[in-house]
Amino acid sequence: LPTLSLLDEATDRHENAGTVFTSMLDRAETAATVLVADDDDDVRDLIAFKLQMAGYRVLTADTGTAALSLIETQLPDAVILDVGMPGLDGFGVCYRLQALRATVDIPVIILSARDSSEDISLGYTVGADEYLTKPFHPGELVRRVRWLLLANGG
């Protein structure tokens, strides 16, 4: 699988000349749906805005329970989960997604202010594909989403 730096290089090439590789990125961007779950409406709105600007369709949820329900019914192409949400937290949502055949392959990014090695390790243990800490860089988050969608079949 290409590394993130290779992906960035490919994106740069696309910006300059265009490549087959990056047209795959374009297709992913125009077709994919991303669910964003965060109980902080500012963070949620900001991520949704950035993803929409990148061409993604965005679903949002403010609790883990609402996120799980939306994921099960809408089957988004990728999921971004906060950890500290009321009720079911992001770790719980991620764990449950791994237990369902319909959702086990959906890429998950955990985005949390919990930055201890224990929390990060737990995030990967419950099935997250990426673990990013807050405060986050929106461009980096969008790149990770793009990369995961590509790695998951575009």
């Binding site: 500012d42 963070v43 805005f49 405060p135 929106p138």
Partner: protein, 126 residues
Amino acid sequence: LTTAAAGIRARLADLSGDEPCAEERALLARMLGAYPAKTAGAVRHLAEALRSGDAATVEARAHGLKGSAANLGATALAGLFGELEGHARDGDLPGPEPALAAVHRELDLITPVCAVIAAELTATGP
């Protein structure tokens, strides 16, 4: 004040780049404009938990407040909430009034900064 403003401006630049579009400026202005009142409300809930010695709730509330503050570049405030979160996690809650006074001082400091920068964002652009 200058340090607080610099922190928020740096974070906004990080979030939006050098030339945010009008829609993004409006979003950031709305976030900044609403932040002080929204945070004051959340701090009231934090204070209740702190005064009642509810460490688990203090940890959860302080964690959320830390994330919101850091997201907008209010780093000093984020640091205060982070300290409270850490104390609560360790089961070692600080005296409520000094801790809350420090939070209110910092929140009072950044409230006008948020208003000024929000107004700049609203006024700037094509």
